[in-house]
Structure formats: C-alpha cells, structure tokens
Symmetry: C2
Subunit: 385 residues, 2 copies
C-alpha cells in the first residue's frame, strides 16, 4: 500500500508557443538578476526576445553558467547579486541554468559558506524568488525545488532541494527549442525517461495510478523521442516531450511509493570524473544496474516490459530482462552509446574512485532495499563496460 505523503507544488506553469513574449507580465516590478548559460541564447534569438518582452525592467546580467553548473562560477553570481541587491532572479536556459539559479537564489540570503547548502550542513531559511524560461526539456527542474551543482575543485556533484526554491513561474515554449543541438535532445529524452524509472523500478506497492502515469511517460517518450530528436521543427513531438519531461519530476510519480536514485548517483560520478553528459551517463548505467538487480526488481521490471513494450512471455525474470534489453536498444536508437568503454579507457580508476566516494560519503546501502553497496557499484561499472 502507499505510504503517507504530502504534496504541494506552487509553480505557475505557462505553457505554449511564443509564451516567452508574455514574460513582461509575469515579472514583478523588482530589480532582476538575469542568469544564462554559455551564450546560445544570443545566437538563437532568445536573448533578444527576453529583452523585448521585459521592456524597461531594471536588470543585471550574469552569463557563463556551465552544463552541470559549477559552484565556483555560481558563487560569482551570488556576489554580484548581493552587491547589486537584486530582488528577483530570472533564469533563461536548460536544467543547468535553472539548477544554478536555484542555488544562487538560496545562497544570496544564506549566512555562511555556500557549499554548506550542498553538503546539507546549512539550513535554507529563505531564497530570492525566481522565475524561469526553459530552453531545453529534460530535467523537470522547471516544476520542482531540486538542484544539482558540481564543484570543479573537488570534482564533486551534489544536490539539494528547498521549498523556497520552487520557481514562481516557468515559461515552457516550444518556439525556443528548434535550435537545440541533437546531443542535448538525446540527453533530455533519456534524462526524463530515467527520472521516471528511478521512481518506478522498485517493488510493487499497488500504487496503481502512479504506475500508470509513469508508464504513460515511458510510452510517450518512446513514441515521440526519435521524432523530437531528429525533426527539430516537429512541434507535436516537441510539445509532448516538453510536457512529459515536466511530469516526470514534478513530484507526482514519487508520492507514497519507494524510489531508487542509484542510477543518478553513479551517473553523477561519471559526469564529475570523466565529463560524460548527464543523460548519457544514465543511459550507460541503467542497463547494467537493472541487470545486476533484475531478480530483486523483477516484478516492476516485468510490469514495465509487459505494459510499455508489450513483451508477452510468462516467466517474470525473463520478461524483466527483455525489458532491460529493449530499453538499452531504445537509448541506442535515440543515438546514445551505452557502453562505458566508448568514453574512457580507465575502468579500474572509475571503479576504485566511485566506490571509494560512496564509502567515504557513507552511501553504503543505496536503493529501495539497500542492495546498492559500493561493491555493487563496482560490479555495475564493470558490467557497463
């Protein structure tokens, strides 16, 4: 049976083609810090549309936020925000810019070392309000309070969440998407897909509705993913992917059910250590993690294989394994290479360093049943080779 849960999500979703042009009416009459990434918004016209839409708002700009937003960079934005006494943050970008903006929003009023927010030593008691213009469907950050930040100095990638970090509004506008590079599209579809598996592939608790929503996300991404990636002008596919990526991590899927974020935890380490894209890191780890845990997760794996992939065999474990194979093939068909050996030569370094990190952080028993030990992580990396 479902466990007890609370759900509250105050984000105002403003969804539709050309909705960016109504940005002005959404912004408060306050001093704004505009945050953006590596400059694609200048090339694809998004910056100009933002400037036109906000008209005469008082605004300070800070650009250069990296993919997998970097703590050291963000702390410069925090300094700027403090100095300029900004009152509202506008994040224009994908998951990295928005995650970075959440950190900046929390760190500006925070007294103490900003890194405490990531190590959970610090308690977030307030944040500068922020709004977002999403330019890349993937992480779902536009409708949640989560953020993942990397530290260059120590090659760490850590997350935090705070109810103060829900965006006040998020504009989701397919007119901003046609210029997205294929690589970011592939990453986005896989990210949304694996957000869903992490909240679904555990053990059955008879959460019938949550399961159906998750299966709907899988089916939609399978049906639309390829078109979205390879036909950048296809509005229908872009619309469905944009909507679905949001539903994958706006909190509903995990209400009252067990979750297992092990794939993300290992994937984050791959990104931190060898710089592989976030979505790709998940596509590498998922098949091996689920093969390693297939027996334990077989009931949900089989339900997934039957309902989403129409696998029709009887034997539960066989069906489960077929579901994993089909998922890996789906990732491959989208354009993701799912073998770790494609990205690095040094398997032993990854095995040693990642299992060492899990141990040093006392992440000794991950997963819904505590089965993902540092030793299992080592095995999974081997299997992913």
């Amino acid at each position: 049976m479902l466990a007890a849960f609370e759900y509250q999500n105050p984000v105002r979703v403003v969804f539709g083609e050309n909705k960016i042009d109504s940005l002005g009416s959404l912004l408060p009459d306050k001093k704004i810090l505009l945050l953006y990434g590596q400059g694609s918004i200048f090339k694809n016209g998004t910056y100009d549309r933002v400037k036109t839409a906000i008209r005469n708002a008082e605004m300070v700009e800070f650009g250069g936020i990296e993919a997998n937003p970097v703590y050291e960079t963000l702390m410069k934005a925090v300094e700027l925000g403090k100095k300029e006494k900004i009152e509202f943050i506008l994040a224009v970008g994908g998951g990295s810019v928005i995650d970075g903006a959440k950190f900046v929003a929390a760190a500006i009023p925070y007294n103490g070392d900003g890194w405490d927010i990531l190590t959970k030593k610090g308690v977030i008691k307030s944040a500068v309000p922020l709004g977002t213009v999403l330019t890349l469907p993937a992480t779902g950050t536009e409708m949640n309070s989560n953020s993942v930040i990397s530290r260059a100095e120590t090659k760490e990638k850590l997350s935090f969440a705070s109810p103060f970090c829900y965006p006040v509004f998020s504009i989701m506008d397919i007119s901003l998407l046609p210029s997205l590079p294929e690589r970011q599209r592939i990453n986005g579809v896989i990210d949304a897909f694996v957000h869903t598996t992490e909240q679904y592939m555990t053990y059955p608790v008879n959460a019938k509705m949550q399961d159906r929503i998750a299966e709907g996300i899988f089916s939609t991404l399978i049906e639309e993913g390829h078109t979205y990636i390879h036909e950048p002008g296809n509005k229908e596919a872009a619309t469905n992917v944009l909507y679905t990526a949001m539903m994958a991590l706006n909190g509903w899927l995990s209400t009252g059910v067990p979750t297992d974020w092990s794939i993300h935890m290992v994937g984050h380490e791959l990104t931190a250590l060898i710089g592989v894209d976030h979505g790709i890191s998940l596509a590498i780890i998922l098949p091996s993690m689920y093969r390693r845990l297939a027996e334990s997760k077989q009931e949900k794996l089989a339900q997934y294989a039957r309902r989403v992939w129409n696998v029709e065999e009887k034997d539960t474990l066989k069906v489960a394994l077929k579901g994993i194979d089909l998922t890996e093939k789906f990732f491959n068909d989208l354009g993701a290479v799912t073998r770790l050996s494609h990205y690095t030569d040094d398997r032993k370094f990854l095995q040693d360093e990642i299992s060492r990190r899990f141990e040093s952080r006392k992440w000794l028993k991950f997963g819904e049943k505590g089965e993902v030990t540092p030793e299992v992580v080592r095995e999974v990396i081997e299997m992913a080779w």
Copy 2:
C-alpha cells in the same frame, strides 16, 4: 497539437491513514468556522477526532449542509461567519460540504447578493482561506477551485470557480472512509470516472501524456471500483480510489486539450429536477450522450475502448460503440441503474424543462464542436429512457 495553457495549483495535499490526527498542526491560529454535512461525522467518530486534533482552537460550528449543497442553507453559514468574524473555514465532509465551504468562503467578503457568484454577475476578489478534511472520494474538489451549488427555490444547480477558493490544505485519510454507505461509494467512483471522460472524450489533439493519465484513471477505477464499493475495509482499494479521484479533477487532464462537460450539464438538471444522485445522473446520461455523438467522438471513443477495454476490432465506429456498451455495463456492475425510466415516469417533463433551461441560459451549442443543442439534449434524454 496542444493549445497553450497555464497551470498552477497551490493545494497542500496531506495524504495518509490517520492524517486527520495531525489536523491541529495544519490549522492557523485564527478563529475557525467548522462546516459539516448531515451529521454522519458524529456517528462515525470523525467529529470527535477533529475536536481532539484541533485542541483549543477558537471555533464556531455550522452543520446541515445538504448533498448538492443548497444556496439558502449556505447563506445562513455566510451570515454566521460574518457575525462571528471568522478568519478560516474548515470543511469536514465530501464534495458537497467542501463545495459549499468554497461558496461560503467567497460569499463572506463579497459585497452584494451571494447568488451573483453563481450567475457570474459578481467578481470574486477574495475569499476566507479554507482547509478541508475529505470524507468521500469522488468530486476532486479537495484539489481544485471549483464549486457546484443548488438553489432550492428555483431548482437550479450552477457552478463557479475562483483561484481564491483553492483549499490551503486537504487531508485525505482512508481511516475516515470505512463507514461510507454503498450508495455514496458508487456515486463517487462514477463521478471520478465521468470527470475523466469529460476531459478526454472529444477529438484527438495528440496530447499523448494527458491521454495516458486519463486512461490510467479509467483503468484504476475499473480495477479497484468494485472492491472499493463492496469491501469497505479494503485499504488498498480505498487508497487507490482516493488518489485517483483527486487526479481526475486537479487540473492536469484538461491542460491544453478540448473538453466537453455536456454530461455534467444535463446530469445537474436531473439532480435539480428529480433529485437523482449526482454520480447516478452521470451514469444515466453518459451512455446515451456518447451513443448520440458516437460518430463525432469516434476516434477518442475507440482509443479508449482499445486501450482501456482491450477491444480488438478494426472498424473505428464499432469499437467506439463497444466501448460505450462496456462503460454502461461497468456502471451497472458497480450497482448503478443507468436507465432514466427507473427513476421517474415523466419523460416529457424532463425533456421539455431541460431543453427549455438550456435555451433560456443560451446554452445553445455545448460540446467541443458545439453539437450539443437543446434538441440533442432532448434526444439524449429519450435515448436514456
């Protein structure tokens, strides 16, 4: 393709067994107006649990709100609330009590005739904040801003919605459900089911995710409805129905898609004129409405029949009609008689009066394509006989 939409829903859902006992921590330190219905909360212990949970809060009580809450009764609560200068409303009950509470919340600060709120002549500019303890899964009112109110004097049943009327919190607690009478259970399952059809059974706009969520609601209610109704102690079924009824009308299903609330509009008239229960009124009208509009709605009807009922024929219209037959049989199996002749002898009166009302309210072209004219309503009532 999806139309543009906005979505924002601030309700704090507090879901879980015995969550009513934490009511005290959710209430503000303000003067409270407790609203309840016909007194079942005294018999089943819910009133005592509320009183225990809220401890010493200052509270005025108003009971006697009817099923299909009556304007004349609610205006007495409005008077009491004004006189007592209440600052917060706590609604303990099903959809009728909560809908009634929303009206009271809006009418207390409203300057003018309260009925204006229902006829949309009045603009709601504020409302007393309200929290709810849901005792009957059905209407979804616990997580939306809608309300339906009846006027005894004129036998009218009208609705309103206001962003000020979202509950601050809603407690959804299966420990309050075992004493529910079978009749209310049947009504509840059908109500949630038809909320979903009204937001789904139109024409395809390639809203893949919204469709999947709707189909998940259908499947869950079909799988759990019978058990929930006939095994009052079954916690699993109660949990899934409670969750699903909320998802059916918390706003997601209708994001960006056409809707058609014709069945509710005609059903409301049956309730207003001959007093048939709300859920039953929908079960009576749905099969005939969809048979009458089968050709126009055939694509979504067929998608529903195929995905939810596994109908496997090729011909779209035939599949569509089979889906309607299976739905009527489902309602019958739950315990609902779906023939209007079971409830009244006077078909001509209903046909004349309901089509007259539609005409006098200028409801001349209901439905996603404007096909539901007063004449079609007349035909549907005939077909439902």
